[in-house]
Amino acid sequence: MTASTHRGDRSLAAGQRPATPRAGTPGRPPRPRRPRPLIAFGHWWWALPAIIAVTAIHYAATAAGGFFAFTDWSGIGSFEFIGWDNFTRILADPVQLGALRNTLLIAFGSVVLTNVIGLGLALALNRGLKTRYVLRVLLFMPVVLSPLAVSYIWKFIFEYNGPLNQFLGALGLTSLQKAWLADPTWSIWVILVVVVWQNTGIAMVIYLANLASVDPGIEEAAALDGAGVMQRFRHITLPSIRPAIAISTTLGLINGFRVFDQIMALTGGGPAGATETLATEVYKETFSLGNFGYGAALALMLTVIILVFAIVQQRVTRDRSKEGQ
């Protein structure tokens, strides 16, 4: 023990933790140094199990999947390294190109429709309406329901003998009755309707959260200056909710690329592949047909596509007004 500690000098080097009582408490005996506890709160390594789990389950598995994309593994037994063959086959296969087209249609279709409808609902339910809280709950409810369970209900509605065709029949519109989920033209749009119905609520909530921070006074001032509804929306509301647009469209786009449950429950990718997407093709090739390597290559392509579009979309929607500040 040094002389300085006897004097109560606490001039420790920066960053060093005091090991003895603070200065200015004369007469109080120094507390004995406690042994370092086995587990203490507030240390970074509390996150270690989570980091290990995420790395092992998510990133290591993804990396392993990426490796198998360059093999001909069937899911069992041995495999051979075949380079870029799986990717060449994918790009030459009209079924996979059709799946890519459907993926893009559902992703962009759902992101546009959910955001336009979600923003419209948010604006309508932002202020004024007395029943807005009840309506918000009702419109948000589809988001919390299981996509698979909800899709089976929609499947029942769209079945040939289902309520939709019966309703059309009751109106005398029998010529419009059809097997909606087995129609090569309509089935993909039915899926889009279900996806949009289920995801609009989340877009509405994101916009509502951002709209709450828009000062009504600015809009009132603009109105007094003679600005119309559309002008106020374009020049005040829209710039104010730019962060919400960025978040909502990014999440919507990623979810749109990954749509799987709804397709499997509604059409299973049919009729004759008309509603296959990259996500359903990954499942089918990998788990139904035993083409694990080929399925892994499809999954890798889907991951890269999502990554590229997410980055592009982030750049497009970022707030440039704060650049250079």
Binding site: L38, L181, A182, S288, L289
Partner: protein, 426 residues
């Protein structure tokens, strides 16, 4: 307060390893079963909440063999093949596993055997192999699967509903059948209930029709396709098979909206009598009659074209195999030997609605649902289910997707045949 914190921390320190041990125990329990030397685990597929024939027989075996414990691990049939592959690859599959004869499905015995996951079986299974089906069970001289059933894959036909509709005898030709379709359509009924949105039913209808168009003419067609001497595209029988489906669709033989229907269309249609026939395995007749006791159902062969030969599909759809990694091989072989005994094979058939695998010669089919196809079975006019012989799952996938495309007008017959050939050769 400090005491509380200490106790909490001690709890955390203890909880982590305990949770780890519990998790590891749970993981290992699925595969290893119990430590009983005479016990083993048994995985099979199940599609409903009724007791599986395997479960019933396992219980009867345990009752007659005290000291033996069979731990049952039923798996949903829609993911069965993949689940089994994952378990085998991960080293935690059950000791005894239900497989399918041949190749062509994810849980096909020969595919799994080639990957080294199955143990060759003893001699008791050899006598059960249906005539002409050795290639579905053997690799070289090693037997990898023990058949448990003999299933006729034809048409399950509701005679009660047919009589009500004024149809007194099953059509002898496809042309007669098409005529009946027109009569039934006028009454708001359909001859066939088709699950056009369910791939297995599209594969089934194609295979069953191919019996009269392809395999009646050339029972060795699969062998010829393997050697490359024929293809789907250059075989008139396959072209006729797909054309028959198109013709049936055009003639209104299927219920309205058939191209998107599920299996409920078949079960509802046949049990309510709004449809007369369904392309489902023969054993389903028993299940349907138990659901609708007022309807009588029989198994029929799909009628040939005018001047064609009547033929059907018959063979074993299900088999049992032994996990090569199992340490309970003696106990399993004893169980398989017991199952191979004629009285137990008959018991399985009674429960499942199939024909006993122990030999058609000793079975009396008079008065049973199989009576209409008895002459075909006795004369050997049947071939094994084609998908059990084909080299991979992709051919069946090409059929299901292609035939649905024929129903919706998305595909032509030439396109479908080309896809089937491409899938075979991949």
């Amino acid at each position: 307060m400090i005491q509380h914190r200490k106790a909490f921390r001690r709890g955390v320190v203890l909880a982590l390893p305990v949770a780890g041990v519990l998790a590891l125990t749970a993981c290992s329990a699925a595969g290893s079963g119990d430590g009983d030397a005479n016990g083993f685990t048994f995985t099979y597929q199940t599609s409903n909440n009724l007791e599986s024939p395997y479960a019933t027989l396992a219980k009867e075996y345990m009752k007659s063999h005290p000291g033996v414990t069979i731990t049952l691990n039923p798996q949903p049939n829609d993911r069965y093949g993949q689940t089994l592959r994952t378990q085998l690859q991960g080293g935690n599959a059950s000791d005894l596993i239900q497989t399918a004869p041949g190749t062509g499905q994810p849980h096909s015995a020969l595919t799994l055997a080639q990957a080294g996951f199955l143990e060759p079986l003893g001699k008791s299974a050899a006598s059960l192999i249906p005539k002409g089906s050795d290639s579905l069970f053997y690799i070289g001289d090693k037997l990898y699967a023990q058949p448990v059933d003999f299933t006729v894959n034809g048409v399950v036909y509701n005679t009660t509903a047919a009589a009500k509709a004024g149809i007194t005898k099953f059509p002898a030709t496809t042309e007669e059948l098409v005529q009946n379709c027109k009569t039934l359509s006028a009454k708001g009924m359909s001859f066939v209930a088709l699950a056009g949105g369910a791939p297995p039913n599209l594969i089934q209808i194609t295979q069953v029709i191919s019996a009269t168009r392809v395999y009646a003419e050339n029972p060795d067609w699969n062998q010829d396709r393997s050697t490359g001497s024929v293809t789907f595209a250059n075989t008139q029988g396959w072209r006729d098979t797909l054309q028959t489906i198109v013709d049936l669709n055009k003639a209104g033989c299927f219920q309205a909206g058939a191209q998107g229907s599920g299996f409920d269309a078949i079960t509802n249609g046949l049990s309510r009598g709004t449809a007369l026939a369904g392309f489902i395995p023969g054993g389903s007749a028993k299940e349907l009659m138990s659901a609708a006791p007022d309807q009588k159902m029989v198994v029929q062969a799909f009628p040939p074209a005018q001047g064609g030969k009547t033929f059907t599909l018959g063979g074993s759809n299900y088999s049992l195999s032994v996990n090569a990694a199992s340490t309970k091989k003696k106990a399993i072989q004893d169980f398989l030997d017991w199952l191979a005994q004629p009285q137990n094979a008959k018991r399985y058939a009674e429960i499942s609605g199939a024909i006993p695998v122990s030999g058609l010669e000793s079975v009396d089919l008079a008065g049973s649902a199989y009576q209409p196809v008895e002459p075909l079975l006795r004369s050997g006019s049947y071939a094994p289910l084609p998908t059990t012989v084909w080299p991979n799952e992709s051919v069946a996938d090409a059929i299901s997707s292609g035939v649905q495309g024929l129903l919706t007008g998305q595909n032509t017959i030439d396109q479908v045949l080309a896809k089937m050939d491409a899938a075979w050769d991949q």
